[in-house]
């Protein structure tokens, strides 16, 4: 049976979340600041049109423009965005059991072709999400993930399409591919696009016509897959998005059974450190930390196993922060008088550090020194062997850091004290 990929992408997700609860700023430009209010991490279309850039410049540089045009400024409110994201994803999941949540504001759906025109289904998705949650989305549809991504881009760029575009039903698909620059193709990195430009390959159309041999040679297997995908041959399945691991787990069975909390603490801290290294290696941030412990299932003695999760207030790759979360989980599940065989740490809800909207988390580290510190520690350990430099939990006290969030909005949908007020007057 013929299938198509749908990419559903929330428009200016963070700004849109803020606007759901603020009818007074419905038509105003909005920017959202990073965790420490140091950078602009998201801007809606209107703010971008006024010259706001979200990538490189610190907030203070943009302040004159912000003041001049009366742009609304918010500190990032991850609790709100996380809850709104979950709502959107649950609605999407109703349309197809085959769903991949790609990031906080994007998901792929895989759907069979039936009686109904796919564009119609796309419109229904868009309408239902808008009605239920108040978040505007764009829907790109295509025979492969790469083409669905391109379709979504076209849907966003061309207001006439009404936010939904099926590239698969176009008679002259190449005409659309000619409009897409290679650097804007999913999976083509900046380095590759430079190389491609030098070879005179400028658009998605040019890349599609590249021979498989050359593609594989110049751009590795991922590049070859991209070329095939542009030609309508699916190579990336759902959840098979190449560069990213979706969860990181570090777990061991102990050589002998362990009974005390300090011993488990040391083990959990150590595995968390390992998991965090892996996290930074793949340039990801984690949002949720899970810890589990278990006794020996085949020993004739009292059995116990426990697991606990902790959702961090924001995605991070900061080892001390994650250790702290992991140990708070451990404390909750630890029961004395059992002898434990296994313990482990799993990091999930991973977000790419630099992906769009990954760079929204411009400061995933509590302070700028910490990122440098992390990198330094990783380097030292690579040279000197595991755990040569280590985080104390295990000894050294972790300083709880305070985030600067001067302009955070209410957590409208997750805290009773902060729900919106409606007037009966």
């Amino acid at each position: 049976m013929k299938k198509s990929f749908f990419l559903i992408d929330c428009d200016s997700f963070y700004a849109s979340c803020e606007k759901v609860f603020r009818p007074d700023i419905k038509d105003k430009p909005v920017v959202v600041l990073s965790n420490n209010d140091g950078f602009i991490v998201a801007a809606d279309r209107k703010a971008k049109a006024l010259g706001i850039k979200t990538i490189s410049d610190p907030y203070f540089k943009m302040e004159p423009i912000i003041k001049k045009f009366g742009i609304e400024v918010f500190s990032a409110n991850f609790e709100l965005y996380g809850d709104m994201s979950e709502r959107v994803m649950k609605i999407l999941a109703r349309f197809s059991p085959e769903i991949e949540i790609y990031s906080i504001d994007e998901a792929f759906l895989l759907m069979n072709h039936g009686e109904e025109r796919l564009t119609n289904i796309g419109r229904k998705i868009k309408e239902l999400v808008w009605k239920s949650v108040g978040i505007p989305v764009s829907v790109g549809i295509g025979p492969t993930k790469t083409l669905a991504k391109i379709a979504s881009r076209l849907a966003k760029k061309n207001p006439g399409l009404g936010g939904v575009f099926d590239i698969g039903e176009q008679e002259d698909m190449d005409a659309f591919l000619r409009k897409i620059k290679v650097e804007d193709i999913w999976g083509v990195g900046r380095a590759h696009s430079k190389l491609l430009y030098e070879c005179g390959i400028n658009t998605a159309y040019d890349l599609k016509r590249l021979s498989y041999n050359v593609a594989k040679k110049q751009m590795t297997i991922v590049g070859l897959k991209t070329v095939k995908e542009l030609g309508g041959i699916p190579c990336f399945a759902l959840s098979d998005t190449p560069p990213h691991q979706k969860s990181i787990m570090r777990s061991r069975s102990f050589g002998h059974l362990v009974e005390t909390l300090p011993a488990l603490t040391e083990a959990v801290a150590s595995y968390t450190t390992r998991a965090c290294e892996k996290l930074r290696e793949q340039h990801s941030l984690a949002w949720v930390v899970h810890v589990f412990i278990a006794t020996h299932p085949h020993k004739k003695e009292p059995q116990y196993s426990g697991k606990e999760s902790f959702k961090l207030s924001m995605p991070t790759a900061d080892t001390p922060t994650i250790i702290k979360a992991a140990l708070s989980c451990l404390k909750k599940i630890y029961r004395p008088r059992y002898r434990y065989l296994r313990c482990g740490v799993v990091l999930t809800n991973l977000i790419p550090e630099h992906d769009d909207p990954g760079h929204l988390f411009k400061t995933p580290f509590p302070s700028s020194q910490n990122k440098d510190l992390m990198v330094a520690v990783d380097k030292i350990n690579r040279y000197m062997g595991t755990d040569f430099a280590r985080f104390g939990s295990v000894g050294i006290e972790n300083k709880p850091w305070k985030m600067r969030q001067a302009r955070r909005s209410q957590r409208y949908s997750t805290r009773w004290e902060e729900i919106p007020t409606v007037y009966a007057k």
Partner: protein, 146 residues
């Protein structure tokens, strides 16, 4: 201490914590004695299940003001708002009027939309030209503490 790598056997996704009361008799029958409540023991009353039909579209809001008292909505009450319900005539709705959320009853009179109060002391809001009316959601229930 020797350690050996173990494989990933189980990765549990993140879920909001929910307290679950385990039914007491779920483990089966002891010594041939059938406890008649066994068949029913798996049921518990869950207010969420009763009140919230569309969790993804449901929000809570707090009321300020007395214009809806005759509909049983008082200052300080919490309203359960379902955005996925279609705001037809006669529904109590949350509307965004001139940048503010209000709770009113939606009524069309001679084709024109009105936001009606449920308190004789308050006048209905007529949607005039230039005023912007957006229905944000439909009020399903009110939580009032006596």
């Amino acid at each position: 201490m020797t350690e050996k790598e173990t494989k990933v056997t189980n990765i549990f996704g993140f879920e909001k914590k929910k307290t679950v009361d385990l039914p007491y008799y779920v483990e089966g029958v002891r010594a041939g004695f059938l406890f008649p409540a066994d068949d029913f023991s798996e049921y518990k009353l869950d207010l969420n299940e009763y009140l919230i039909k569309h969790p993804s579209a449901t929000f809570f809001v707090k009321v300020e003001g007395e214009s809806m008292v005759d509909a049983g909505i008082h200052t300080g009450d919490i309203l359960i708002v379902d955005r996925s319900i279609t705001p037809v005539d006669g529904k109590i709705v949350i509307a965004a009027v001139d940048g503010e959320f209000v709770v009113k009853r939606l009524k069309h009179i001679e084709g024109k939309p009105f936001l009606i109060s449920e308190n004789p002391d308050y006048k209905p809001i007529e949607m005039e030209e230039g005023m912007e009316l957006t229905i944000w959601g439909v009020v399903k229930n009110v939580i009032h503490e006596f």
